[in-house]
């Protein structure tokens, strides 16, 4: 019984790591642009489809190469999407258009997948072997999910604090006007942040494909849970997502275990509503906007 709960918690943490990575990918774009990309979930699923078509039952070498190509490919797709999204914001006073355009891109990606692949869930073979925890076989992709979260957390940390471009993106989120006055190439930095968010969700989608439902309609589930993870952790706080993501994952798994699998998304929705009602800045977020 106890070990059963432990296994569920571990799986919850693993699933939650996916949410956390998606939440971090939200954060980098939101920091640089104030935009929340509603299409991020479908970009994530694109990574899963790439794993199915490019790297199902292949050797480690080809798998690694395809992982890289998938990441870069989806980074390019999201950068193009970002370019389109930013276009109307350039001149007009209309600052809400991104909400509509990212939602419609999300619908377009899902529709394209539906048309070309049908409404089926594809199963992907794991390249990493499963391992045993408390006597239960656990798919290797769970370990990959956690590893990916940790990797991206530290990679982003390094990028945002050590590299010139990363520092510039941080500067953008701290004081937009001062960044422009300093001559930082705002538009290019924003596109780079979109591309990085694509790289993140693309690679993670690829890595965890064996343990998720790779289907055209699954994207929404991940964009939702990723958002809940971001809100729980406090929007803008990557460290917060490390707690927020696994928390949401564990809640979802425990709900599935105690109540039923169909209630997972309902549980996430309830968590979201409760947090927004009682602690809208998140568990670890600071009150007030940082941008001056």
């Amino acid at each position: 019984m106890l070990s059963e709960i432990l296994i569920i918690v571990i799986r919850g943490i693993a699933i939650g790591s996916i949410f956390a990575t998606i939440a971090m990918s939200f954060n980098i774009v939101h920091g640089a642009t104030n935009i929340f990309n509603f299409a991020q979930g479908n970009m994530f699923i694109l990574g899963g489809f790439a794993a199915y078509f490019l790297a199902n039952q292949v050797g480690l070498g080809q798998w690694s190469l395809m992982l890289l190509l998938t990441g870069l490919g989806i980074a390019a797709v999201v950068a193009v999407q970002g370019y389109i999204t930013l276009l109307p914001l350039r001149s007009s006073v209309e600052q809400d258009s991104w909400l509509i355009s990212t939602v419609s891109v999300s619908v377009i990606v899902a529709a394209l997948l539906m048309i070309t692949q049908g409404p089926f869930a594809y199963s992907v073979q794991s390249v990493v072997p499963s391992f045993r925890i408390f006597g239960t076989r656990t798919p290797g992709a769970y370990a990959l999910a956690i590893a990916a979260m940790i990797f991206w957390f530290f990679a982003l940390r390094y990028f945002l604090r050590r590299t010139f471009i990363g520092l510039a993106i941080s500067a953008l989120s701290q004081d937009f006007d001062a960044a422009r006055a300093a001559g930082l190439p705002v538009r290019r930095l924003q596109l780079i942040s979109f591309a990085i968010s694509g790289l993140m969700v693309g690679t993670v989608g690829f890595l965890v494909a064996p343990v998720i439902s790779v289907s055209p309609d699954a994207g929404l589930k991940y964009v939702l849970n990723g958002f809940v993870a971001a809100v729980v952790g406090g929007i803008g706080s990557n460290a917060g997502t490390l707690i927020g993501g696994p928390l949401v994952g564990v809640v979802a798994m425990l709900t599935a275990y105690k109540v039923g699998g169909a209630y997972q998304d309902l549980a996430s929705l309830l968590v979201l509503v409760l947090i927004l009602m009682f602690r809208p800045q998140g568990l670890f977020g600071r009150v007030g906007a940082r941008r001056v």
Binding site: S170, Q174, D175, R180, A181, G183
Partner: protein, 234 residues
């Protein structure tokens, strides 16, 4: 170097500047004074590209920059230091200086020299180079903001109220730094309310009132002009 002709600008639907003209020459400091709300900050922001001018011309080295995005203006050699000692609070002091290099192409050695120069003028920045900028005092943040602009080596430097939020005593070293900077061939424009402290460092002065140029003169004549009986009100 910088030439503004008949500028009309504001923010949103609010007109603030009406027909303002000015020139800033290389090697000189132009001091712009005026009461609060006279439109000095709007003038700086319009020149730097933050507000689109409704009419008029802004020429940098003869090239029109009116309506160009602020980051492009900065890259073409005109650098605005915003008022309120705005730095990037969550970046270290050194990284704040690094951001200055965005408006400057390439050359690593030049960057290092510029940083060394800033550190020698403001040793406190070197001392605190690893701290977050948010941990500096207001005066130190102003030094940092100027240092960041110095790294870019702009042709024209606009400096909006360097004294804002600082103790008065901190102003002279900052002004002295700007004076030396100007002498290297940079055109410097300072917006200030503390005219008496600032005027000795400036070459020319200009007073703005209600969005219009009231008069301009040599900085040395400013005091005399301000106290002239022509403006006796009541």
């Amino acid at each position: 170097m910088l030439e503004v002709k008949n500028l009309v600008a504001g923010y949103g639907t609010i007109p603030v500047l009406r027909d303002v003209s000015l020139t800033a020459k290389a090697g000189e400091i132009l001091l712009i004074g005026g009461e609060n709300g006279a439109g000095k900050s709007t003038l700086m922001r319009a020149i730097a590209g933050f507000n689109k001018p409704d009419s008029g011309e802004i020429l940098l080295d003869g090239k029109a920059i009116g309506g160009v995005a602020p980051e492009k203006v900065a890259q073409s050699g005109l650098r605005l230091v915003l008022d309120g000692h705005r730095v990037f609070p969550e970046l270290s002091v050194f990284d704040n200086l690094r951001m200055g290099a965005a408006a400057r192409r390439g050359d690593r050695a030049g960057f290092n020299n510029a940083v060394e120069e800033i550190y020698s003028v403001f040793p406190i920045l070197k001392e605190k180079q690893k701290l977050y900028a948010r941990d500096l005092s207001g005066g130190q943040q102003q030094m940092l903001a100027l240092g960041q602009a110095f790294i870019a080596q702009p042709k024209v430097l606009l400096c909006d109220e360097p004294s804002m939020g600082l103790a008065q005593a901190l102003l002279p070293p900052i002004l002295a730094f700007l004076r030396r900077w100007a002498q290297t061939g940079t055109a410097v424009v300072i917006v200030e309310q503390h005219l008496a402290v600032t005027a000795p460092y400036a070459d020319r002065a200009m007073i703005i009132e209600r969005g219009q140029v009231k008069f301009s003169c040599l900085a040395s004549e400013l005091d005399e002009k301000l106290n002239a009986p022509a403006v006796a009100a009541e």
